[in-house]
């Protein structure tokens, strides 16, 4: 009976390790996450809908999703340029640049938050140049965009970089020998090959930005209806002991990020199938 479940192996410890894995996973991850969804069942459907569509909440979605989307677009462009620079060009300090790309992963978000705020505040190094131009970077939606761009950059670079490294020189050589110029080669040969990686990087950067909290709360100014992101609104509701409201918003955000991850998987599956059929 057990062999149906587990193919025979001479190695010991299957029961112990799988048992511990499932127990620990359930205690730390599955039960608490299930609890979140169960909590929403204490609300009626109309209460739930009312909570997640109130004007202040809608304004926070618009800011969170809009700024996350824009940040992911910016990162797709500059992430491609950076990945291209790192893979194709030789220059002094390349290893340092390559390592520093991961800084947003390694730097605690609170630190990036206060650093960005100090830079873009009206009297900051960058803010004092922007302010005379009428651009208010800190404490405005633009500040949210800046923080989310900071946080998302490595996702695009780190997904495009390996794809670019794997790209075979033959394809570009073939295009060139058939008379394509550099721009045509890039547009018709290189870009389509990088597209799956770019879409994945874009989606990862977008998904990460949706849930970001630490780097945004300092620079955004947290004005309701204007610069309040959904993550902050969840905390605000929690601090007012509105557990149901906080839970409802959390469920909306969780479902949104699951759909994005699902979309990433679908895109990768579709491209790998298309690649197989192409051969």
């Amino acid at each position: 009976m057990r062999n149906l479940f587990k193919r025979h192996s001479v190695l010991p410890g299957f029961g112990l390790t799988l048992g511990w894995t499932l127990t620990y996973l359930s205690l730390i991850v599955l039960i608490p996450l299930t609890g979140l969804f169960l909590r929403t069942t204490t609300m009626t459907w109309s209460d739930f809908v009312e909570t997640v569509t109130s004007p202040r909440v809608i304004a926070s979605y618009r800011l969170t999703f809009g700024a996350s989307f824009l940040a992911a677009v910016i990162n797709s462009v500059f992430g491609l340029l950076l990945a291209w620079t790192l893979v194709r060009y030789q220059f002094p300090g390349k290893r340092f640049v390559d390592a520093i790309v991961d800084l947003p992963f390694a730097l605690p978000t609170a630190v990036s938050g206060i650093a960005l705020t100090t830079l873009y505040a009206p009297n900051g190094w960058l803010g004092k140049w922007l302010e005379p131009l009428g651009i208010h970077a800190a404490f405005s939606p633009l500040g949210v965009l800046i923080a989310l761009t900071f946080i998302g950059l490595p996702f695009v670079v780190r997904t495009v970089q390996p794809a670019l490294e794997e790209l075979e020189a033959e394809a570009e050589e073939a295009a060139a020998s058939l008379g394509a110029n550099r721009l045509q080669t890039f547009y018709y040969v290189v870009l389509p090959a990088l597209l799956p990686a770019m879409i994945t990087g874009f989606a990862l950067s977008f998904a990460r930005a949706l849930g970001e909290y630490g780097s945004v709360v300092f620079i955004s100014g947290n004005k309701p209806m204007v610069t309040e992101i959904t993550s902050l609104l969840i905390i605000t509701k929690l601090e007012q002991y509105d557990y149901a409201g906080a839970t409802a918003l959390a469920v909306v955000m969780l479902v949104a990020s699951f759909f994005i991850l699902l979309a990433i998987n679908a895109v990768q599956w579709w491209f790998s199938r298309a690649a197989l059929q192409g051969v």
Binding site: R7, L11, L33, L107, F150, S177, L210, G211, I234, T247
Partner: protein
């Protein structure tokens, strides 16, 4: 034939395989400029602001009892959560990589789940479980146990956000390595534990260390999840990132950036170690692509 083509096309392909110099210059300048503006400048700002009033003020920030207690709490939370996830990572990778069973890919997806959950929600789920209005709230209250707004909650949130790091480094590597060496060891009479300690562990030690480094960095730097469960009791439930937030909101900028610089140094050390380990892992196994860190 191939040489003939490449020589005949060489005049053409040289121009078409490389961008003109001006394009190169623009791509390089935009890429590196963007990186400097968005990543390097904030890092420089942390240290500049921290040292704005000199070394004396800088070091004075660390003599504050609240700072010391924050450092202590961060170390405690890290010292508990990282070993727990290390043991889990080893158990999970052994079960998943060394055996075949149904539902394996679902299990791998579930292990990665905490990376898909945003920091604030990672804290919220534990408030819903253990908070006063939580599922276990009344029971905990009756037994005078406090989890939320206390150290256990901070540890739990830290365990959750660092959950997958070690497992996700070990699983692909151990799957790639297969079972041959372990089977040979067992055949030669080694016990299960001996096989694990002397064969499996040495084979994965660098990837293990890589996962631990990422876990430590995340455990010490986590802000959102810990912020939700902490309650911000100064000197009691403040970790280092929360202490930075409080100092900053009190307009105590020098102290805020001084403490933040500690975290920034930790981040730089993480990046340096990570890069060194990636070279080591790649040198040992040329086919292995180090995975990017998330979180």
């Amino acid at each position: 034939m191939a040489t003939a083509i490449s020589t005949s096309a060489s005049g053409h392909s040289r121009a078409a395989l490389r961008e003109p110099l001006w394009v190169k210059a623009i791509v390089f300048t935009l890429g590196i400029g963007f990186l400097s503006l968005f990543l390097v400048l904030p890092l420089v700002a942390v240290f500049t602001e921290a040292l704005r009033e000199g070394l004396h003020a800088y070091f004075a920030s660390f003599r504050d009892p609240a700072a010391l207690s924050a450092i202590r709490l961060t170390l405690v939370a890290t010292a508990i959560s990282v070993p727990l996830n290390l043991v889990f990572g080893l158990a999970a990778s052994w079960a998943i990589a060394k055996f075949e069973f149904r539902g394996k890919s679902v299990l791998i997806t579930l292990i990665d789940l905490p990376f898909a959950v945003s920091p604030v929600i990672s804290g919220l789920i534990f408030v819903l479980m253990f908070g006063l209005q939580g599922w276990l709230g009344p029971w905990l209250r009756a037994h005078d146990i406090q989890v939320i707004f206390a150290v256990p909650g901070i540890v739990l949130a830290t365990v959750f956000v660092t959950f997958p790091f070690v497992a996700r480094e070990l699983i692909p590597l151990m799957q790639e390595q297969g079972n041959d060496e372990e089977q040979a060891a067992l055949l030669l009479g080694a016990s299960g534990w001996q096989t694990f300690w002397r064969v499996t562990l040495p084979n994965v030690k660098w990837a293990l260390l890589y996962g631990v480094i990422l876990s430590v960095a995340r455990a010490m730097g986590e802000f959102g999840a810990v912020s939700v469960v902490s309650g911000h009791v100064r000197g009691k439930t403040n970790t280092v990132p929360l202490h930075v937030e409080i100092l900053y909101n009190e307009y105590n900028f020098v102290a805020a950036f001084a403490v933040a610089s500690l975290l920034a140094l930790l981040a730089l050390a993480t990046l340096a170690l990570k890069t060194a380990l990636e070279w080591k892992i790649q040198a040992a196994r040329p086919s292995l692509e180090p995975t990017a860190v998330e979180g």
